[in-house]
Symmetry: D3
Subunit: 189 residues, 6 copies
């Protein structure tokens, strides 16, 4: 596989991998040129890997009123607050790729307020910051601010899901010192 040890724990991948997992990893290698270390990290237990990928893929890739770029921008802003090296590296690359704008990716990593964003994106990132740092203070007024820039209730659910998910995965990555694949750094610069 690519790179060195994917994290700090002594939890080797199942060997051999079950056929569906091996096939999924082969597709990653083919399409991305790597098997993301987050997948390798969960591959010591296939039930956990499958549960993680099902949730992730539904949230980040399934149909939604939020574009994939919007979801990735939210992911990076949450990860910037939590200073998660893995997620900033991997999803910062995704923002650069999906937007075709390397500076935008850097702004999401470094300070989203430095970016020139429209009212919709500003509202979503304002909400993401608040839900990440002070979730208990959320009120109906915060949800209404999202509706005011055009989000439906389903869009709000999807936004909340992405914010929640990266608050989980940022902590999993930092908790086990998950290492990003080296290839991300040079992508789409």
């Amino acid at each position: 596989m690519s790179d060195s040890k994917p994290h700090a724990l002594d939890l080797p991948m199942v060997d051999p991998l079950p056929a569906p997992t091996q096939k999924y990893f082969d597709i990653c290698l083919d399409k991305l040129g790597m098997i993301p270390n987050v997948l390798q990290s969960y591959a010591f237990d296939i039930a956990k890997l499958d549960a993680f990928t099902a949730l992730y893929n539904d949230m980040m890739l399934a149909d939604s009123g939020l574009s994939k770029l919007e979801r990735e921008m939210v992911a990076v802003v949450v990860s910037s607050i939590n200073k998660c090296y893995y997620c900033l590296t991997a999803h910062g690359a995704a923002v650069r790729q999906l937007s075709g704008d390397p500076a935008l990716g850097e702004q999401m990593v470094m300070n989203w307020r430095a970016a020139d964003l429209d009212a919709r994106m500003t509202a979503m990132l304002t909400f993401a910051e608040a839900l990440t740092t002070a979730s208990a203070k959320t009120t109906e007024a915060d949800r209404q601010a999202l509706r005011d820039v055009g989000l439906t209730d389903r869009d709000i659910f999807d936004l909340v899901s992405v914010i929640g998910f990266f608050n989980m995965t940022n902590r999993v990555a930092s908790g086990i010192d998950m290492r990003p694949n080296d290839a991300y750094h040079a992508q789409n610069r």
Copy 2:
């Protein structure tokens, strides 16, 4: 179904529910006397519900070096930091039930340092607090402190997963104002 609207968004459950979902909900009603509102909240989209429950059930109920009570105590301490009304209510009840000690449930909700805990549990909750409030500062020394009280690397993964998960679900619950079922309040007092 039980109680009133499960959250603040206008996202009604799929109607009729698919047979496997209906069966799952019927089992909940039979065993718990209610369908937890978190399940009703995701039931507007069965793929999301299934992804959530697969992850949740694997993490909280599957075999682990961490007992179910230990996992619930971690869940409540994370939720106490994030002041999540839904999770404190539902999982506070679980701590009361699993421990048979109502005061212990209250201590996890109110201030875990007020409880009389052994070194293993103290180490786990210390780690949970740190990973929740300052995940980026996690170092190998923090993981070693868990090994020093007997956790294996697999146990550390499971602990990190629970901490991460409740940092997600606390924000989802607060983000959509998820309401706990009324029945939790009086349970196991």
Copy 3:
């Protein structure tokens, strides 16, 4: 007396208690079924006990534009911010008793924004939170917001007094590890 050692310091109660103190404690036992541990904690020095109870009783029980329930709700919200196990237990029970609404007590303990409150109570708890966490930023606009929901200047003084008092007693209780009487946990559930 009820329960075990009321706190972590080696400061036994005066023995025998002076007659007025013994009478006061007997009334507590008769009316409450217990002598609250906070009273036992101060009873190593009767002058301190008397000063504490005089201040407490005037503040929480004397006539005021704030109802006893309102004062108890403020007390619990302050104690929730400071995560004081003693005060959350004792005054959480008081909110459940005075309101007849167990869920309301839990909401004050867990996250007051989860409760369905009118403008007056919301304004008081918003002020309580601000004065607890950032007292130096208080300005005339904060006092005016209280007048705008109907509080008189005397009401504001009483509100400020309760907020101040629990910021004191939360720290006294945590500082000496004051233990709540066991009986509180099951009351008014």
Copy 4:
């Protein structure tokens, strides 16, 4: 009386004052050259004034293992964290007077770590800072650190009381915009 309006609320002093209160205020004028505004602030209700002064006088002036200067230094450090203009002014002057060291008073107001203190005072101020900013994290180890520099359990109670009290009165003063008497500023410079 001295100075202008003692605080921002419209709560005039009882007029005429009861004889014992008038006598107490006359003594203040005679000994201090002023009636401290905190007393004038409570004098709209003599029961509240008496309860406050009883608690205050017992805590700051009665016999204790902590010297009056030590208690005033703790008072100022707590007030510095809470940035209470009234208490910093009045009790900063007290530290200058009791110590005969104007720079020491300034250090307590500005940053106590800038002062050259012995282990006992350092331990007390470290505890005061912790109990003020994160009371819920207090553990037996914190109390033991005080015993290790010679405090008895009674001394710890007295220390906790002073810390608690100023966390109350800082908030009362900021909550009602209590104004310090002008005379404090030039005292003992």
Copy 5:
């Protein structure tokens, strides 16, 4: 020279001082009655001393739409947030001197919101507090709030410079334990 060791590092002044430096220090002694310890602290390296004084003198003393008193008030408020003993002592004295109002100096040191300020000064100190504690959240709206009370863009630059400078020098002073000259304490009381 005046006072004792100016800071905690073993970095003695160049000896003998170059003629221009000696002349500058002589002027200080003549006009201020002391050589400020900040100058003595940098005098181990004349290039560093000259760079520091050039920046300082241009910022605090050169022509600006901000008066010298305004700049000193901003300096003290920034230093109060950072609790810098050196800067609070030296620049607190400067506010007392330039304003002729000892209480104003104390208010800037203790809690600027306790002062009775006009809209222009309030806006500048609000901005100073925000840029000191959360610089990354600055937006155009914050700059506009300054323009709304009459600041030009050049004034804004000068304000930002002072805020930035004291965030530097507060950390330099605390980092090396720079000691204020004793004479400041009694000045202009």
Copy 6:
């Protein structure tokens, strides 16, 4: 000149620039391929520009026990805490260039604890983080920890200077919305 408006204020550069300034800018263009926007930002007032560059050049480029790479790493870590888009962009590029290690630059931007650093660098960044976030808590023990990994008192001064400087310039950049030159983003990837 390169790029668009260097910041949000209406403060055009002196036109024409004085000969020495023009020469300096020409050298920048020749050696760096750009005139850093920070220089353009100060060029509305040549005295301010000269004071800034004198301080900057002495601190970052003059002889020191700290290597240029070490100083740049400290600069980026401070800027990461303050989330300064300008400084993270410009000095992140400098770390990539001086180290020849693109991942190291990203780690300093994202989370320095993710990097594999020796004891000396870890001690310097630990100190930088502490002095940036809680300068008033600095004690002799913090300076000793630097001496323990080999820093001289002069090295400590230089370290403190860099930390202080970026706490200044981060706030200047955020205060005026200084924009980094576009060219930095792709450098040394």
